[in-house]
Subunit: 341 residues, 2 copies
């Protein structure tokens, strides 16, 4: 560490209005400090781009503070320890934590978790074994509470969360239907992920398609997209149905409020529960060991598939993020920054 280390990072240059463009991002090179006592220097191998980051680009108070203009963006990463001044962390260890959108990051070691490279791929810790996986696991099982024989419908089903929701629901004995935005994704859901049925929501009104694909109604709707999907699903929910409100990717770039579901009051007569959640909440952390045991086990037994779309190079991260919001990914969208040593 004699020579000064330099590293590149993506800064938020300006706040997007509507859909983000390349002009909202800036690639900046800065000196990487040496780790202080208790800190580690991490070389980032894979960084995550996630839909929730769009919300942080607005200057709006939410469950995470907004990104600051002129500062690096942030997000999940898997990296390798280059230099450690923390007990229990060695050079070469694989870790996951925040500190993405840059090549190197220095932070207190206790902000990272060590990961076992033997369970799945390293990047799986950003996907099925990471935040999206935990979101699918807790959202479906703890909030959706699917019972064998029930029908589970998931939107954004070819995404990182949706794909695992569907696979877990199948393992729990449910009939699983998914929606996605292209014929290729629909094929992927049916042929690769084992969905019972799947459809391209661009082919026609979702409400009509649900009549055909969910003839017995929906017991659990896992909502990743909001908008038309949510209204159509409410209309097909069975009594005592559960709607897991996970995200609303159809609305993240919206510059004006989208219409709400006109049929929400069906929730009274049908005794529906709609529940929003944020996976990073303390209350969900106790489920992490169960999640790693179950999903890790399913991965090893090939009962669950890891699916990802990999973009190479930090300079391509803005493009990856913009593409994610346009649905260019199948499975988890990750950016590969470096190879492990």
């Amino acid at each position: 560490m004699a020579k000064e280390l330099k590293g590149r990072a993506i800064h938020l240059k300006s706040r997007p209005q509507g859909e983000p463009t390349a002009a909202n991002f800036e690639l900046v090179e800065t000196a990487v400090p040496e780790p202080a006592e208790g800190q580690i220097l991490v070389c980032n191998l894979f960084m995550s781009v996630d839909p929730y980051m769009r919300g942080r680009m607005n200057d709006v108070k939410s469950y995470v503070p907004p990104f600051q203009v002129g500062q690096p963006l942030d997000g999940g990463v898997v990296g390798q320890v280059v230099h450690s001044k923390a007990l229990g962390y060695e050079e070469g260890d694989f870790v996951t934590g925040m500190g993405g959108w840059r090549e190197y990051h220095v932070a207190p070691a206790n902000q990272y978790m060590k990961v076992d490279p033997g369970v799945g791929s390293l990047s799986a810790y950003l996907g099925v074994l990471g935040m999206p996986g935990m979101t699918a696991y807790v959202g479906l099982l703890d909030l959706g509470k699917p019972q064998a024989g029930e029908t589970v419908f998931v939107s954004g089903a070819a995404g990182a969360v949706g794909g695992l929701v569907g696979q877990i629901a199948k393992l729990k004995g449910c009939r699983v239907v998914g929606s996605a935005g292209s014929a290729e994704k629909v094929k992927h859901l049916r042929e690769e992920l084992g969905f019972d049925d799947a459809f391209n929501y661009k082919d026609g009104p979702v409400a009509q398609t649900l009549e055909r694909t969910c003839p017995g109604g929906i017991d659990v709707y896992f909502d990743n997209v909001g908008g038309e999907h949510l209204e159509a699903s409410i209309g097909k929910m069975n009594n005592y149905g559960r709607i897991v409100l996970c995200g609303a990717i159809s609305q993240y770039n919206a510059t004006a409020p989208a219409p709400g579901p006109r049929n929400l009051m069906l929730a009274v007569g049908r005794r529906l529960t709609l529940q929003g959640f944020i996976i990073s909440d303390e209350r969900h952390m106790e489920r992490r060991p169960d999640f790693l045991r179950d999903v890790g086990g399913w991965l090893r037994e090939k009962k669950v598939k890891e699916v990802e779309t990999v973009v190479e190079g930090l300079d391509k991260a803005p493009e990856a993020f913009i593409g994610l919001l346009r649905g260019h990914n199948t499975g988890k969208m990750v950016v590969k920054l470096a190879s492990p040593v």
Copy 2:
């Protein structure tokens, strides 16, 4: 019972389009049969008109079957046994059950419950001690789960359900805010029912009024009206807030779907739960003893007030029902049909 008994009943003459009118109802006199083995003949003393009945006037499948044109309407009553052929039921007993919108009713005794005339007034069994009371109790406590110090907002607060929701929430140590549709009702909520604050929703946008009346946000919103109230409340909910979807009286006469809440997706970041329920569900029946003990106790100790608007005479029942949907009642709207003997 030698002479044939005749009784009048209100039939549904035609299905209302939009707001019901007197022309949708017909007063008919028919012979009252003698009770068979296991049955009782009940003289109805008070009958209930309730908002949910509007839904039953449409030819739509819901959690209760629709009323039939040319047939008597139905609903909750408190009556007195005139003639019993059922073990355990004596002439003069007070009972409550279905069989309203008529002067006399003959039915199996096990469809009635005997009521104790010493707890509150007889008509209270249609209000605070009846279905609306149970709705308030279960909806607020089991679904809303209010904690001392939290803010509870209830719409339709001067109605049969809303008024008790507010009073129970006060007893649980909450700050209670209510909305209603007239200055007199607002005064009633503040001065008679002990609400911390109350407002006339006709005075201005609900969202603006909630800024003023719920400066610390809302933890539990008990929704009786839907529409603008629901959207405004979602906008003021605190993290982990609960929205109890009890009814949507603002929409019962609607002939086209009303706009849904445009901000429903705030439910994700704020981790909101919205839950619809129907009090007549088997799953809520186990709470009936707790309800009668608690609310009965509070009534006797004068901690809860019985509030009702009484209309006299079966021929006035349609008018009472139409008035209910227009908000002409304070507290429970009941129709007095006869005096006890």
